[in-house]
């Protein structure tokens, strides 16, 4: 075992890892630039006419969330996002976009959008996230079970069953999925704060991204 061999392997290994890290940083920079540019040029990709929003119209920080009612992480993030909005009253506007990546998840989006017509959107979303584990388990999804829980949101179920087949909802989901693809959202929840994507995923990172945007705008 020669010393120079060990050194050679260590240096080459270190160099390869160094290249990898450089690659990551170049790629991330490029992506951030690309989406920042898109946010300026093409704001409608982030917020469509049909998109549901929560929060004051005067808010200067737009938090766009691509979510899926059947996604566990979206459910886990929901209270966190609400707390962040409560901690910064009037400064954050939440825009809900759909990326129903789970099998058959558009079924739940349809129920949500039908509930929106009854003015019970947020109540329904709350119920969905809270009861999610009962109907959206990965090895045994049982979408029909959701009907058992929906009355808790105070919904007219007959009306929901009618409204959810509205072709407009189908169109809306298609548009959101197309925008998700354009914005390179491949996992849910996908967050953008004033057009900037959340690059490293986590509660703390999202909070930092939002706080930075608040600092810049207020």
């Amino acid at each position: 075992m020669r010393k120079q061999d060990i050194v050679l392997v260590l240096i080459s290994g270190g160099f390869l890892i160094f290249l990898f890290v450089i690659g990551v940083s170049i790629y991330n920079n490029q992506q951030a630039k690309k989406y920042g540019f898109m946010a300026l040029e093409n704001a409608s990709t982030f917020v469509r006419e049909h998109s549901l929003t929560l929060g004051s119209d005067d808010a200067k920080v737009y938090l766009v969330e691509f979510s899926d009612p059947a996604c566990e992480t979206c459910s886990a993030f929901h209270p966190f996002v609400k707390n962040l909005m409560a901690a910064n009253p009037g400064k954050i506007k939440l825009v809900v976009r759909y990326a129903p990546f789970h099998d058959g998840a558009d079924y739940f989006v349809k129920i949500l959008e039908a509930a929106r017509k009854q003015g019970k959107y947020w109540e329904t979303l709350e119920v969905m996230y809270k009861t999610q584990r009962n109907w959206a388990s990965h090895h045994n999804p049982q979408p029909q079970l959701i009907w058992k829980f929906l009355p808790r949101a105070g919904l007219d179920l007959e009306k929901i069953k009618n409204d959810m087949n509205d072709p407009e909802i189908e169109k809306l989901i298609k548009q959101d999925l197309a925008d998700a693809k354009t914005l390179n959202v491949k996992k849910t929840p996908g967050f953008f704060v004033n057009g900037k994507p959340l690059q490293s995923f986590g509660y703390k990172q999202l909070q930092e991204l939002i706080e930075a945007a608040i600092k810049n705008n207020y």
């Binding site: 061999d5 392997v9 080459s12 290249l19 990898f20 690659g23 790629y27 491949k186 996992k187």
Partner: protein
């Protein structure tokens, strides 16, 4: 004596080159899946299964140089080459879509990357496995002389 030294030196270098190729391929494939977030298809996973361990096995064979490394590394490299070749045929359309084994999740024939108009991910994999197999075969011939 110097002659013998030189031979064993180039033998070591051959394994070292194999290790470099395996390391580049491993880091590259991790870059595609973890950083660029291309979902690896089923066939990609089989190729990864045979590529990733090569990095460690070859490294162990380098310190101290162990000619038995061929015995352990070549089967992995050949199996990986088989999957890479099949994937390449599928990708370039020699095998029809209907024979495609992965129907769920990522498609094995979808193009994600096209460097310089001809370098695709399955092609990179085939090149890596071919290089490793060729180098190991050369070493085997040298040692049996």
């Amino acid at each position: 004596m110097t002659n013998l030294d030189q031979t064993s030196n180039s033998n070591w270098t051959i394994i070292f080159l194999c290790w470099i190729v395996a390391s580049i391929s491993t880091l590259g494939s991790l870059f595609f899946s973890e950083i660029m977030e291309f979902p690896p298809c089923a066939l990609c996973w089989y190729q990864r299964i045979f590529m990733f361990p090569l990095v460690l096995i070859l490294l162990v064979g380098l310190f101290p140089f162990d000619k038995n490394i061929i015995k352990y590394a070549l089967p992995l490299a050949l199996a990986g080459w088989g999957f890479a070749f099949y994937h390449y045929l599928l990708y370039s359309g020699f095998i029809p879509e209907s024979l495609q084994p992965c129907s769920q999740g990522a498609s094995c024939s979808e193009t994600y990357l096209d460097l310089f108009g001809f370098l695709t991910i399955p092609m990179l994999s085939l090149i890596s496995f071919s290089t490793i197999v060729a180098l190991l075969y050369i070493l085997k011939r040298r040692l049996s002389k």
